[in-house]
Symmetry: C2
Subunit: 380 residues, 2 copies
């Protein structure tokens, strides 16, 4: 039931993995999972492609943009309707770009694990998130072309299936509700471009979904097919993971079949600089704090006024992170500093103070205040 | 700057106040402010009109449905366009009903006041919220009729002005962003009906705005005019109240001109039965807990599985409260019980554990866990 670590013994399967930048912080090699270093997150508003965090469930599939086909299957009981699009044929739809952060639902899991009790999953620190400008066409436009503007979307789902295959031959797949996919403000893309270039192999070349604001697992890479269905995806990634459980549930009592799937993510934030435990130089009586506010549907706020770098997207269509910097005053002989960050979204939802009451077996949605302790180095 | 208590000495102004149900919990008599008793909140999914909480800033104005006119003024720089509608003329637009809770942004202020430090405002407990089915026409439809589908809504505002007048002759007014007013899923109404009857005098007879999911102050009663403007409402209720400040701000340092206005409210919940400090009978080894989950954009969840009563509105258009009941097990000789409730919304935002870090000078957005302590009466 733990989809985080695949069990692939065969070296051959991994022989064609792409080159990865050595600055990425490796979590697992096979499948390849690696974080963007927090200080490099705040060095760039849009993460350079080679520094974008990588989350793989399986080996990277090899696809050819010239021959790649996207199947769209509408299965609503009265027989199936099928559509097929080459990448060239997808260009009939309006070309759009959307700036959006993607974040693993398990980002910051390691803090929940350390501060409450063990959770199961990759021990992400704060680096399973990056920001990019994605280019492609709207999923909504493709679905309308396929006649889905004429159905009641209630209780219907859009199953997204990738070309990556697990050890038992099952393709990666998950789903999102059809009403989400049809929402004109949701800006869900079928993307071929990332920060102005073709998608890298690690990020879904040649075609992926990008579901802004949602857990990144829904942004299926190496997209091969879309199925409109009365059921959610039957895959174990969809059925047995990325669901919400309360702090009382154990692996014995958790019932995945009745637990709500996680689509959109709650507000969170992270101190990217300095790092917890770091010795930090004091300059002119201040230390520099650089903070990332994630998945704020509109805007973030903090206790102190701060310099912010944000996207100019319209209200309720703001899907990128916000970066903050702040000069924090230091007392002349102060040796240590405890720093807490929290963000508040445009609905005035804010982060829980601690992980204790949001703890869950999978360590997801780990959005309590980020707290670090630093040591101060006064210049002499 | 405190708009909660008007200073009206003249008895004459209050001579025509409507009859009020004696079960309402009085907070101030002039203007009339009163809570719905929590146990009566959970007795009815839709609060009976006579038990709906009342929040007045001024005396109740006297209006006549037969002659009432709604002015719509579009003031976007290039001259003003004016429209006028009698209630009969508003019936040209499609008739709709929306089930929505209205909650004062200051609901539960008394807990923040007691648990952290003093805040300024009416000392609402948990009763400044009620739920109803509102009938009328969509504000969006009226605005489209007035040509506002053709303008870019960015940075434009819809100023709503009521017939209630303060001691200096200024009409009550506030505003919402035009993009909110035009959102087809926001379901903002110009309402004439409340739970199937004409609006009562205390609830805006004969016409009010209903802005689902927003602080109730935006649901302007006794609605006389709508102005589309490049500026937010200049009124002191809009400029000097219902804005967000962090816990460090004092009345001396708070700058209302740069603080974000509160439109939508964060997730919250409340134990309506039993009350804090109550002696509660134990039946068959259990006590009954009845909980209200408020302003959840989609659904609420709790640590324990519970029986829930909810509205069938479409996802993302769910504007009513959710009522829960749960049988909590009691040990044979247990004398006391501490109960905490929290809710989680469909984006998995949840409530802060305590009020300390969300404290603010006005005591609004007071949505920490609700915690009660009860005494258990075992049957003998
Ligand atoms: Mo994950
Ligand atoms: Mo209020």
């Amino acid at each position: 039931a733990d989809a985080d670590v695949a069990d692939y013994g065969d070296d051959e399967l991994w022989a064609r993995e792409p080159y990865r930048d050595r600055r990425l912080i490796l979590k697992t090699a096979r499948p390849f999972n690696a974080e963007t270093p927090p200080k490099q997150q705040v060095d760039h508003f849009d993460t350079p492609n080679e520094l974008f965090y990588v989350r793989q469930h399986m080996p990277v599939p090899e696809l050819d943009a010239r021959t790649h086909q996207l199947q769209v299957m509408v299965r609503l009981g009265e027989g199936e309707r099928r559509f097929q699009f080459s990448l060239g044929e997808l260009e009939q739809f309006p070309s759009v770009t959307v700036r959006a952060a993607l974040m693993c639902a398990g980002n910051r899991r390691s803090e929940m694990n350390a501060q409450v009790k063990p959770v199961k999953g990759l021990s992400w620190a704060g680096g399973a998130i990056s920001n990019a400008v994605w280019g492609g066409v709207r999923l909504r436009d493709v679905l309308l072309h396929c006649g889905l503007g004429d159905v009641d979307p209630t209780d219907l789902h859009v199953i997204l299936t990738g070309a990556d295959v697990d050890a038992t031959g099952v393709n990666f797949s998950t789903s999102i509700p059809l009403h989400m996919a049809l929402d004109p403000t949701a800006d869900i893309l079928l993307a071929t471009q990332m920060n102005g270039t073709a998608l890298p192999l690690d990020h879904g070349y040649p075609l992926r979904a990008v579901v802004p604001g949602a857990a990144a697992v829904r942004s299926v890479k190496w997209l091969e097919s879309i199925t409109i269905s009365k059921e959610e995806s039957p895959s174990h990634w969809h059925q047995k993971d990325y669901r919400s459980f309360n702090a009382s549930k154990t692996w014995e009592t958790a019932d995945f079949s009745t637990a709500p799937p996680i689509y959109h993510l709650p507000v969170t934030s992270y101190v990217c600089e300095p790092a917890d435990g770091e010795y930090v130089p004091v300059r002119d009586g201040h230390v520099l704090l650089r903070v990332r506010v994630d998945v704020s549907s509109d805007r973030g706020r903090s206790w102190s006024e701060a310099e912010l770098q944000t996207d100019s997207a319209a209200p309720r269509r703001h899907y990128s992170w916000t970066l903050w910097s702040l000069q924090l005053p230091v007392q002349p002989r102060q040796e240590d500093m405890e720093i807490w960050v929290k963000a508040t979204d445009s609905n005035f939802n804010t982060q829980p103070e601690t992980f204790e009451n949001i703890w869950n077996i999978r360590g997801i949605l780990s959005n309590a205040y980020h707290r670090i302790h630093i040591h101060l180095k006064h210049e002499t």
